[in-house]
Structure formats: structure tokens, C-alpha cells
Amino acid sequence: MLLNEFLFLGAFLFCTGVYGALARKNAVLVLMSIELILNAVNINLVAFGAFRNNIAGQVFALFVIAVAAAEVGVGLAIVLIIYRNRRSVDITGVDLMRG
């Protein structure tokens, strides 16, 4: 398999994730999209690691996974609080910080 095929996959997933993070109204779906971005980056890292015969790629991908997990935990906690206060997870309604 060629390297750029993996990179295309990663890029495609990244773009999808960015689209989702920016365009979805549901907060949970935004978090899912952010996971998608992180996973796309993981694919990139592992692909480069495999093709360069460097284990650093996979190591870094493990780091990313750990951080993603922590971040999802915090994110979901925030979404939970939003739901409790507003009875909805529509992220476009959370604009109290507008100036």
C-alpha cells in the first residue's frame, strides 16, 4: 500500500471531523467529531511511523488516545451540565459569552 493512501484517509477523516465540529448543533455530535479529528491524526501518525520504521509514531498515537479520552471525559461532563441547566444540548443556544 502506498503512504499517501493512508494520508488521504487521514485527511478525509480530518475534514469530516472539522466539518462536524463546526457545523453540528448537537454538542455530543461535536464531541464525536472532535474524536474523529483526533483519530484522523492518529492514522497520520501511525502511517508515518510504519513507513519510516519508527516506533515514535505509534507512541505518539498512544499519547493522543490518552489525551482524547481525558478530554472526552471533561467534555461530556460539561455537556451534562449544559443539559441539566438548559434541558437541551443545542450548542448554538450557549452564547452567554457574546459581547
Partner: protein, 675 residues
């Protein structure tokens, strides 16, 4: 012995001190301040006599025609401005000492006289204070060494004259008379200031009288400047010494108390102008070319014309007065004309000598008139209505009045004879022949009007309403003293004696080579004869009642017109009041006011209006529009910018995230492309 001549400042100082003392403590004294006044003047008289004696005993220098006694002068610098020094100085010479004697004698006698005359007067204390101050002013003028100091004395006398004429100011007429006197002499004072300034510059920046005279006589002064300086001083003399045309104030000044008239308007202040000419003689001698015109028999100059005209017109006016003081006032004007004319025709000794003798007999006449009014005519001065036949009731007054009138008319051997003849002789010998004629005519007129005056007052039947009686000793003793002086004062220069001439000769006299002529019997005799004839004619007119000229003015329109012309004082008063003052008050003042309101104010208002318009323009267009616009624009811009930028901060997380990603993408692109 010479102490007084070296310290002449003490003579003005004594009455000055007494002025303040009388003013502040006079009221509380038993004599209401009069004792201070009399005492001070007594002291001044003693000092003056001492000065005369000291002067006479001074060593004579020079020989023959150059004989003189050198003057003594002390100057103290008052302040200096650059190179100009204003000094206070005292100049003692024969003229000054002579004037001191005259002024102090007459002032002392007037002070004594006023004890009785002004008894019970409402402002008795202030009267004595003003008399003291006046005497001080005259002393300052007479002993001054510089023109500025003389000016100070001159002005001081003008103020005191105003105060004293208007002594009874409750009556508006008196107040008006005082104002008239002050303003008329003030008109002359402009001339004095101009003259002093011109002479200051002409004589190379000095105010000292001797220096100015010497510079003029030595020819070191530009003639034009000298001439105009002399003309300016002449204006001052015309004002102060009541020459034509500024003589109109003197008759009106008779509204003041009689002692004032005797002191100020007969013997002292009015002769200040004559003194000025005598003191500044070097200037006048050169400016008017007064010197003897031995080749041309018709010497004439401006000052002589003024004097000569004054003699005649004043003498004519004395004929139509009913008020005895007015007769004496016009007589004074006429005699002042004599003095001025004398000085102007080179008769320096004659003019000063006449000043000396005139003071005594004129003061005697005025005080006599006061005595008549006080005790005989019920405090009135109207000869026709309140007097007549007082010879029987007031013998002493009558005797002294007649003696003084005879002296005035120039009857031998009284004082006026010698002084008047000195004038006539010197004028004639110096080439001023016409003025000798004028002088003789004046003498005839004087004899005639004085005869009329004496007749109306003392002879005939009593026409008044009071109980005439002789006056108090305080009045009659001064009269007697003055009568004695009227007889004897002339003897200083009489019968071949030259005491007066010798004592008053000064450096100017010698340097200018003023001529002094010995007595001439033909001239004196003929003048005397003509005067006696005139007196006889006048007497005849009054005594012999069937004289055919009686009622002449009723029958002849021309004579009546002439009489009216005289009674209206040649319409000069109307000319001055309506013509000069009226035209200034009316059209000139209106014109000036119009100019002020419409031209000057228009300019000022225009400036203000323009400033306002410019200010409005700056405010409206520049400040409000441009500057505020800029400032507001910046603010608005900031605001709009903020509003625009605020849309970026909508609180939506996804929006922020989108911007983040876009920026990161751009950054990455940049990194890839350019690094």
C-alpha cells in the same frame, strides 16, 4: 547780616507753616486763627525788611553804568532725570527783595484790616488760612530761581485767588466770578507752560532764570524759539495781569471780600505777570528788540501795544461804573497796562517802580473803599445809591482816599508822579513816542475818573440809608500807613535820588544795557499839568450842575450808543461767553460727540463685530465641523469598529472554532509555501 539773603527760603516757609497751623488749630484759638496769620505775616515783614536792609548794604560792584549788586542764589537739587536737574532755589536780588517788602507790607496790613472787616464772618478761619497760603505762593514766585518754581508759586496763587474770590460762595454770582477768574488766568497759564518749555529747550536745557536770561542776552539762543517763548509768556502775562483781551475777570473778581481785592487784585497777584516780564527781561529784551530805537522814533512791539491798549480801554470803562470797587478794578487794569507798557518800551526801572508805588496807593484805595462800605454805605459799594457826602462822616477815610487818588493820578510830590513820569520819560527817550502819548492820555483819564469817584463817594449829599461813621482803628490805621507810603514811596527815586534804580539794578539790566534816564522837568511838568486839567474838567462837570453836558447821553443817540458800548464792557464778555465758550460748547462739542459716536465708536464696534463673526465662523465651521468631526469621527470609527468586531464575539463556540481552524489553515499554507 547776610544770613537772610542766604536763607531766603524761610520767607515763604513762614506763611506756609502758618497756613497749616491756622487750618488745623485756628478754630480753637481765641482769635480764631487770625492771631497766627497776623503773627506770621508780622514775622515775614520783619524778615523782608531785614532782607531789604541786608541787600542795600551789599557792596556795589562795577562802575558807572555797570554798577550793580551781585545776586545771591542757592539751588538744591530736588530730583534729576538723566541730565536734567529740577532744582529748588532761592534767588535774592533787588527786584526780589523789593517785591518781598511790598507783598509782606500789604499782606500784613490786609491781615490787620481783616480783623475788623471780616469780624464775625462765617469762614473767618479759612479766610486767614487762604491769605497765608496766598502770601506763601507770592513769596515762592518772587524768590524763585527757576521757572518751574515760579510756576509753582504762580499756580498756588491762582488757586488761592479762586478760594478767596469765592469766599462767599453761597451766592452763585460770587462762585461764578471765582470760576471766571480761574479759567481766564488758566487760559494764560497755558502760555506760561508753553513758554517755560520753549525757554528750557532754547536755553540749552536749563530752568534757571539767570541762565536763561544770560543765554538770551549773549545771543546763544535761536531767535525764533526765543520769540515764541516770549510770546507764550506774554499770553501768561495777559491772563494773570489782566491785560486786554483777558482782562474781563478782574472786575468780576471784585465779588470777593475787599481785603482780598486789595491784596490780590491790586497789589500782588496781578503784578505777578509784570514781575514775570521783569524777571525774564533778558528774553523779552532780545525777543521783542526792546532796546532804544534812537534812529527810528516809532518803536513798537507786541507787548507795548497790549499794554497801551489796556491802559486806554480800561480807563474808559472806569467812567461808567457805579460800583466803587469796579472803578478801582478798571483803574488797576489800566495801571497794569502802564507797567507792562513800561517794561515793553525799555523802561525797566519805571515799570518796577510803578509796581512798587502802585501797590501802596491802590491798596490804600481798595481798603478805603472797604472802609466806606463797612461803615458808611451799609455794606454796599454802589456809589450812586448809597454814598455821597461821606467827607463829613469819615474824615480819615476821606483824607487817605484823596491822598491815594492823587498819588494814582500822578500829582506832585506823591508817589505816582515819580513812577509814572519815569515811565513816560524812558518810553519817550527809548523811541516809543506814541506810547508816551498813550501814557499821558491815560494819566489824564485816570485823573478824571478818580475825580468822579471821589466826588460821588465823598462829596455832595449823603444818598444812602445807613448811619455813616468813621471806621474802627483796625481799619483806619492801615489806611493811614498806606497813605503815608503813597506819599513817600516815590521819594526813593525822586528829587535827583536814584535809590530805587540803584538797588534794583541786576545783571540782566546791565548786560542788556537798559537805559535809565534822569528826571526831565518839561515832560513831568506837562504831564502833571494835563492831568490836573483833566481832573478839573471832571470836577467841573460834577460840581457845577448846570454844566451843559449834563444829560448828554439822553439827548444824543451816538453818545448813548458809546455809553452802552462802555457799559457792556465792549461786549467782550458776551464775545467770550457766547462766542468762544458757546461755540465750543455747542457746535464743537456736538461735532466732537458725533465724531465720537459715529466714527470712533463705529471703528471700535466694527472691530468687535468682525471679531465676533470670525469667532462664530471659527466655531461653527472649523471647530464644530472639522475638528469635532475629526474627533467624533475617530470615536465613531472606534465605535463602529467595535460594533463590527463585536459580531465576532457571539459566544458561539463553533464560530470561534471555525476561526481557529481557518487561521491554522492559513498558517499552515504559509508555512508550506514560504518556508
Amino acid at each position: 547780616m547776610n544770613w537772610i539773603l542766604n536763607n531766603l527760603w524761610i520767607v515763604p516757609a513762614v506763611p506756609f507753616v502758618s497756613f497749616w497751623l491756622v487750618l488745623f488749630v485756628g478754630r480753637r484759638l481765641p482769635g480764631k486763627g487770625s492771631e497766627l496769620g497776623v503773627g506770621a505775616l508780622g514775622a515775614c515783614w520783619v524778615l523782608a525788611v531785614w532782607a531789604v536792609v541786608a541787600w542795600v548794604r551789599r557792596p556795589v560792584a562795577g562802575t558807572g553804568a555797570d554798577k550793580l549788586r551781585h545776586f545771591i542764589e542757592h539751588n538744591y537739587t530736588w530730583f534729576s532725570n538723566g541730565q536734567v536737574k529740577i532744582t529748588l532755589g532761592f534767588h535774592a536780588d533787588g527786584l526780589a527783595v523789593c517785591m518781598l517788602f511790598v507783598v509782606s507790607t500789604i499782606s500784613l496790613l490786609v491781615h490787620v484790616y481783616s480783623l475788623e472787616y471780616m469780624r464775625g464772618d462765617i469762614r473767618f478761619t479759612y479766610f486767614y488760612a487762604a491769605l497765608s497760603l496766598f502770601t506763601c505762593g507770592m513769596f515762592v514766585l518772587v524768590t524763585a530761581a527757576s521757572t518751574v518754581q515760579g510756576l509753582f508759586g504762580w499756580e498756588l496763587m491762582g488757586v488761592c485767588s479762586f478760594m478767596l474770590i469765592g469766599h462767599w460762595w453761597e451766592d452763585q454770582a460770587n462762585s461764578n466770578a471765582a470760576l471766571k477768574a480761574f479759567f481766564t488766568t488758566r487760559t494764560g497759564d497755558v502760555g506760561l507752560l508753553v513758554g517755560i518749555s520753549l525757554l528750557f529747550f532754547a536755553a540749552h536745557q536749563t530752568f534757571n532764570w539767570e541762565a536763561i536770561n544770560q543765554a538770551a542776552l549773549a545771543g546763544r539762543v535761536d531767535h525764533t524759539l526765543l520769540f515764541w517763548g516770549a510770546v507764550a509768556l506774554m499770553v501768561a502775562v495777559i491772563g494773570k495781569s489782566a491785560q486786554f483781551p483777558l482782562h474781563t475777570w478782574l472786575p468780576d473778581a471784585m465779588a470777593g471780600p475787599t481785603p482780598v481785592s486789595a491784596l490780590i487784585h491790586a497789589a500782588t497777584m496781578v503784578v505777578a505777570g509784570v514781575y514775570l516780564v521783569a524777571r525774564t527781561y533778558g528774553v523779552f529784551w532780545v525777543a521783542f528788540s526792546i532796546g532804544p530805537h534812537t534812529h527810528a522814533h516809532h518803536g513798537v512791539n507786541l507787548l507795548a501795544v497790549v499794554g497801551g491798549v489796556t491802559i486806554i480801554i480800561a480807563a474808559l470803562l472806569a467812567f461808567v461804573q457805579d460800583d466803587i470797587k469796579k472803578v478801582l478794578a478798571y483803574s488797576t487794569i489800566s495801571q497794569l497796562g502802564y507797567m507792562v507798557m513800561a517794561l515793553a518800551s525799555g523802561a525797566w526801572v519805571g515799570g518796577v517802580f510803578h509796581l512798587f508805588t502802585h501797590a501802596f496807593f491802590k491798596a490804600c484805595l481798595f481798603l478805603g473803599a472797604g472802609s466806606v462800605s463797612h461803615s458808611g454805605a451799609h455794606h454796599s459799594f454802589d456809589m450812586k445809591k448809597e454814598m455821597g457826602g461821606l467827607r463829613k462822616h469819615m474824615p480819615i477815610t476821606f483824607a487817605t482816599f484823596v491822598i491815594a487818588s492823587a498819588a494814582l493820578a500822578g500829582i506832585f510830590p506823591l508817589a505816582g508822579f515819580w513812577s509814572k513820569d519815569e515811565i513816560l520819560l524812558s518810553a519817550g527817550r527809548n523811541g516809543y513816542v506814541w506810547f508816551t502819548v498813550v501814557g499821558i492820555i491815560g494819566a489824564m483819564l485816570t485823573a478824571a475818573y478818580m475825580t468822579r469817584c471821589v466826588y460821588l463817594t465823598f462829596l455832595g449829599e449823603y444818598r444812602g440809608h445807613g448811619h455813616p461813621h468813621e471806621s474802627n482803628k483796625l481799619i483806619t490805621v492801615p489806611l493811614i500807613i498806606l497813605a503815608v507810603l503813597s506819599v513817600s514811596a516815590g521819594w526813593l527815586n525822586a528829587f535827583g535820588l536814584h535809590y530805587f534804580a540803584d538797588w534794583t539794578r541786576n545783571e540782566v539790566f546791565v548786560a542788556a544795557k537798559v537805559q535809565d534816564y534822569p528826571f526831565s522837568l518839561p515832560l513831568a511838568g506837562s504831564a502833571l499839568g494835563l492831568a490836573l486839567v483833566a481832573a478839573a474838567v471832571a470836577g467841573y462837570f460834577y460840581v457845577r450842575e448846570e454844566f451843559k453836558l449834563r444829560g448828554f447821553t439822553e439827548r444824543s443817540a451816538l453818545a448813548r450808543a458809546g455809553r452802552d458800548f462802555l457799559v457792556n464792557k465792549y461786549y467782550l464778555d458776551d464775545l467770550y461767553t457766547d462766542g468762544v465758550v458757546g461755540s465750543i460748547k455747542g457746535p464743537l462739542a456736538q461735532g466732537a460727540y458725533w465724531f465720537n459716536q459715529n466714527v470712533l465708536d463705529a471703528v471700535v464696534n466694527g472691530v468687535a463685530l468682525t471679531t465676533r463673526r470670525v469667532a462664530n465662523f471659527v466655531y461653527d465651521d472649523i471647530d464644530q465641523l472639522i475638528i469635532d468631526g475629526a474627533v467624533n469621527g475617530v470615536g465613531a470609527g472606534a465605535g463602529e469598529g467595535g460594533v463590527a468586531l463585536r459580531t465576532l464575539q457571539n459566544g458561539r463556540v463553533q464560530f470561534y472554532a471555525a476561526i481557529l481552524f481557518a487561521a491554522a489553515a492559513l498558517l499552515g499554507l504559509g508555512l508550506v509555501l514560504f518556508v
